[in-house]
């Protein structure tokens, strides 16, 4: 296994461009490659993706493997796994990282089993151990109650990384790199699934995962009308509204608004937690927010242990006054 060298990053594309997660992974991957003293490679898989190789190089890749085939237009387990198996066997990386996306979450474990190696999904941080030179994979477990550091003896060491956990490098269009085309050589009859339709999520305003500010409410909001006040606050902050599980279960907000272990993971600059206790199930979806602000009537609520700023009291009195004051301050 001493033959495995370097870091390989799976680059996903979105609307004909490199997806933001890919630039992040190349940024984080550069650091890993540097710590190993080895190369950073990228792999582009899809249909009509070859043109993006230079972009991957600009973001830090030394080498780009391109697998371009009409059969790879949509992500499907049965087409992407054999292609990635082929690239992994050709590139022989020590480390393979992907995004914690719907693609990475499906591809990483299945590929790990196929290559008889191990993966860690949803990592917050990965680093090269200075002694063993192994990849150390840190991820939340027990719904965010704890974090675990894993490693493995087999190569490639595979990890999926949460969005926004790594920072992209400034792209340098003058960087030079090597582009290697790999033939997909897929047998269409071996693809046992068919993507019939893609339905984008309907969101009014800003998507929860992309919002810089998230205003979330819990059980204490009490009803759907209560959430309209949170929407007003979110609107003036150009943010989005989230929720814990009870408001979703009670139908006060749509399922897509749920933040937490069984919902979405958000990492905004500002997370305003209103009338929610801060259960670990919820916190695992928002604890990486830069600043957490808590508004809760219970001073003992767990959310005050997570928050940077807080006000203790009835949200019904606090939120309108807070909203008004912000309007005034932001108008200046």
């Amino acid at each position: 296994m001493a033959d495995n060298k370097g870091v390989l990053v799976l680059c996903e594309t979105k609307e004909g461009k490199l997806a933001s997660i890919s630039a992040e992974l190349l940024g984080g991957g550069s650091k890993l490659a540097k710590d190993l003293g080895q190369e950073l490679s990228a792999v582009l898989v899809g249909s009509g993706v070859g043109d993006l190789a230079q972009e991957a190089i600009a973001y830090g890749a030394d080498k780009v493997y391109v697998v371009d085939d009409p059969l790879l237009k949509d992500y499907q387990t049965d087409s992407y796994v054999p292609v990635m198996e082929k690239v992994a066997k050709q590139a022989m990386p020590q480390v393979l990282i992907m995004g914690q996306t719907s693609t990475g979450r499906d591809l990483a474990p299945r590929l790990a089993f196929r290559l008889n190696t191990a993966a860690a999904l949803g990592c917050l941080e990965v680093a090269i151990d200075p002694q063993s030179k192994k990849l150390l994979q840190t991820k939340p477990v027990y719904g965010g109650n704890a974090q675990a550091v894993f490693t493995s003896e087999s190569f490639p060491q595979i990890a999926t990384i949460r969005p926004k956990a790594m920072a992209p490098l400034e792209p340098d269009q003058s960087r030079k790199g090597e582009v290697i085309n790999v033939d997909a050589a897929l047998d269409p009859s071996a693809i046992r699934t068919k993507v019939l339709e893609k339905v984008p999520e309907e969101v009014e305003g800003i998507k929860l995962e992309d919002a810089e500010v998230v205003v979330s409410g819990g059980r204490g909001i009490g009803n759907a009308e209560g959430f309209t006040q949170l929407e007003e606050l979110a609107k003036i902050l150009k943010g989005a509204v989230g929720a814990t599980r009870p408001p979703v279960d009670n139908g006060w907000v749509p399922t897509g608004a749920q933040v937490g272990l069984t919902g979405k993971i958000v990492t905004p600059e500002l997370y305003i937690a209103v009338a929610l206790s801060g259960s670990s199930q919820h916190m695992s979806g928002c604890s990486s927010s830069k600043t957490i602000v808590a508004i809760n009537k219970d001073p003992e609520a767990n959310i005050f242990r997570e928050a940077r700023f807080g006000v203790v009291g009835d949200w019904k009195k606090i939120v309108p006054a807070f909203t008004e004051k912000l309007k005034e301050l932001l108008a200046k």
Partner: protein
Amino acid sequence: MNMIVCIKQVIDPEAPPASFKIDPSGNKVVPPAGVSPVVDPYAEYAVEAALKVKDASGGKITAISLGSNQFRDIVKKPLAMGADELILLEDEAFDESDSWSTAYALAMAIKKIGEYDIIFCGREASDWNAGQVGSGIAEILGLPSVTLAGKVDAADGKVKVQRKTDEGYEVVEVSLPCLITASNEIGEPRYPTIKGIMGAKKKEPVVWKPADIGVEAAQIGASGRHTMLLKLFQPVREGKCEVIEGDSLEEAAANLAVKLREAKVL
């Protein structure tokens, strides 16, 4: 339609965060005193997905659970919800499994069951949040898989799955037999009925030991792991919440807005 659902007994993820403790050995969690374990919530979504298929087109559901010290009252919940059979892979040799050793043992047990059209798993389990066992089973058994399912419709030997994606969802058609992992979009798992609970009480699970499924000690539990847990820790919370006050709540609220501005958060 023959369906198999993989379930798991876990520490109740809804237990108060303060009750969460890590063993001094630094590699396992101490079950909180006085808090009963539960069926993993994601596994319940998997059971619900299978029950919805059974509601629509009939079939048989076999639940299978791996571990040691499985409380019968807990792991019988799928039976109470409407599953037909329960198989327990129960032995201390299964302890400290990772995704590899779990998927391997479950795949071997599923092979022994023999007849199946759909295998359901939760998209991950609420304890280690690994999210790999379903894909692992599919790979070992050579089956097509669809992960992150929000809805499953089975008709005429074809299965259509609404698979959650980062953009929304996609509808994927998959051939049988296949493996599907269920996400929370499946919808709230049903409560067991009184009749279901009574039926489950009377039903004894089938217990299989490693030898019954033809696995070697080296391939299961801690010996079969591909991952090494180096450290398990509780992230230190700063716990430095600055509580903003005022003569009234309204004033405190206004002061909070000013504070956020001053701290350049906004």
